[in-house]
Symmetry: C2
Subunit: 326 residues, 2 copies
DNA sequence: TCAAAAGTGTTATCCTTACACCCATGT
DNA sequence: ACATGGGTGTAAGGATAACACTTTTGA
């Protein structure tokens, strides 16, 4: 219970830097688009000698490497798994990675990115089953669920499964009458990982329940466990949206209510009811009209709004509590 | 953006191991009761060579050192701050600590603890202002708020304060008409730390706005940043209670509804409305009657209940959504 | 018979959801 | 004039919050 000797380990900070542009949420990935290498999240070492806290360290290397201006930053989770970063026979250096979510505005930094070997990639490339804006994604019924149901059945006679694969499937993917919960992004990814159905799992030496050749690629894979970190980031952002005014970190200073709604929809991956959304924003007094209108949308000109920073000081939890289906 | 060399750091796992007994939530602390040393949370090194994941590592040293059986385990936050663990002039080894919340039943392990140099300590000793079960704690109006208001005023003319000290005070401590939010345990502790009003802050070299001699001890201090980790644990547990059936990890297999209510009240630190609490538990179908009754309470015998494990598989988010004042 | 705790029934209110119609502009 | 998106009012239903009284035991 005391000051035992501790094993030295390397600590890296891995960031999911998110922006929304043209109704597409995107995440900054390192590496050339054309290279055959897997996409990976940007990461940097944490050096306690130069930086007092993780967050300062993170901001520092993000700034240095990408010239990006990030606003909101939040710690997600710390991953220490072996076997997620490396093959079973690997005995190399051990690494702990602290995952972070950071929000930015793409327009701010279009130029900055050209220098760095980094680009914004729509996040639904990595999680196609998470985008329900145009209805239920086809990949669910065509590939994912049939395979997962097979996996659930194949574990049927193993008595050592605690909660039951079928039940987990119901909750995470909303089968059997359960509702789809857009916040369970991480749970869904982890289930796919456990079932050996994402490339990362097979790379880590996990065997799927069905023949590998029968498994189509389920979203683009990423390096190391970066897709897991991204899943954590999306889940956290989707949840946070509902009780903190974080969307505005992703919006330009002035915007129409429809633009705001589209951004929220882009993040949460589902449709929102227009009237209810507007009332929500209005009664929460999250925004105020600038007096200007925008004619850029083609139709009746839309009133422009800006975020009311004061709400942060007025109400305890100002967010967009998008209800059942808002 | 790539495989830069990483600085080696030591990684420790620090656990807030919580149990509730006799309507008092308590946390396991290391060190002798009589010793003059500050209480500290148990912690152990993370050795990636022996343990594949943090959680496995944590369970392993907790088991080895305390013979305690912990059920639920959850990662809280990873702290990398220098200056929170050490004095400004310290240049020793750098440590990152991953904080964990673990739940256990005290009765399970009364004996186990005698061997280990550890004991359960009521958590409200460290946070007396968090216990509202007998009404608003006197320490708030007698000590904390007058001092904090002075601190807020003293920063008035400093234009470089982003959200305004007065506003933060309102939200965290519910002054000026704002409601008290029992989940903001960490925010309150951090505010006290920033104001230099807890011993840990002064130990770290932070100067309070008022004369040190005028500040009474505000709760018992802990070693390092362990009180901050405990605040994180309490906050997380209070929040989780509302959407996951975690209370039952702290209850004996059979219990009366009043015992369940008292446990929830002990954790959330406030009173609950009896009828509404009962209806909540009932309509959520979280428990089922065993058929037995307990006459131990002195009065009409109470029916005994047990947790219905099945709910975990039936409903997506089974918790005790204790509303405004339930 | 009295104290002490268990247990129940009902109503007012608010918040959430759903629905359908009118308005201002560019082409 | 018409297509396109912007903008509003209202009613039904469910969940929440507040209320006070009866029941069963031990002393």
């Amino acid at each position: 219970m005391a000051d035992t000797h501790l094993t030295p380990i390397e600590v890296g900070l891995t960031a999911a830097i998110v922006a929304v542009e043209a109704e597409e949420p995107a995440v900054l990935v390192a590496g050339d688009a054309r290279a055959e290498t897997r996409a990976g999240l940007p990461f940097g070492p944490f050096d306690p000698l130069s930086h007092r806290t993780f967050e300062i360290g993170l901001r520092s290397w993000v700034q240095a490497q990408t010239a990006l201006h990030v606003g909101y930053v939040e710690q997600l989770y710390t991953f220490g798994d072996r076997g997620r970063h490396a093959r079973p026979d690997d005995t190399g250096a051990h690494m702990v990675s602290v995952g972070y979510l950071a929000l930015t505005r793409m327009a701010d930094n279009a130029a900055a990115l050209r220098a760095a070997a980094a680009r914004f990639e729509p996040w639904y490339r990595f999680f196609p089953w998470e985008d329900w804006r145009d209805g239920r994604p086809a990949i669910l019924d065509e590939s994912i669920l049939p395979l997962l149901e097979q996996w659930a059945r194949s574990g049927k006679d193993d008595p050592a499964r605690p909660p039951g694969r079928g039940e987990r499937l119901r909750h995470t993917f909303g089968t059997g009458g359960s509702p789809w919960d857009e916040e369970k992004v991480l749970d869904r990814y982890e289930l796919l990982y456990e079932a050996g159905m994402v490339e990362e799992a097979r790379r880590d030496g996990r065997n799927p329940a069905v023949a590998k050749s029968k498994i189509p690629p389920l979203g683009e894979p990423m390096r190391f466990d970066h897709r897991r970190i991204l899943a954590t980031a999306i889940a956290r952002l989707r949840a946070k949206l509902k009780y903190r005014p974080v969307v505005f970190e992703l919006m330009p200073p002035e915007f129409t209510l429809t633009e705001l709604q589209r951004t929220v929809e882009a993040i949460s991956g589902r449709h929102l009811h227009k009237q209810n959304f507007r009332r929500l924003v209005e009664t929460a007094a999250l925004v105020e009209p600038t007096g200007e209108t925008s004619t850029a949308t083609g139709g009746r000109p839309a009133a422009l709004f800006r975020f009311r920073r004061e709400v942060m000081q007025e109400r305890p939890a100002p967010g967009l509590r998008l209800g059942g289906r808002a």
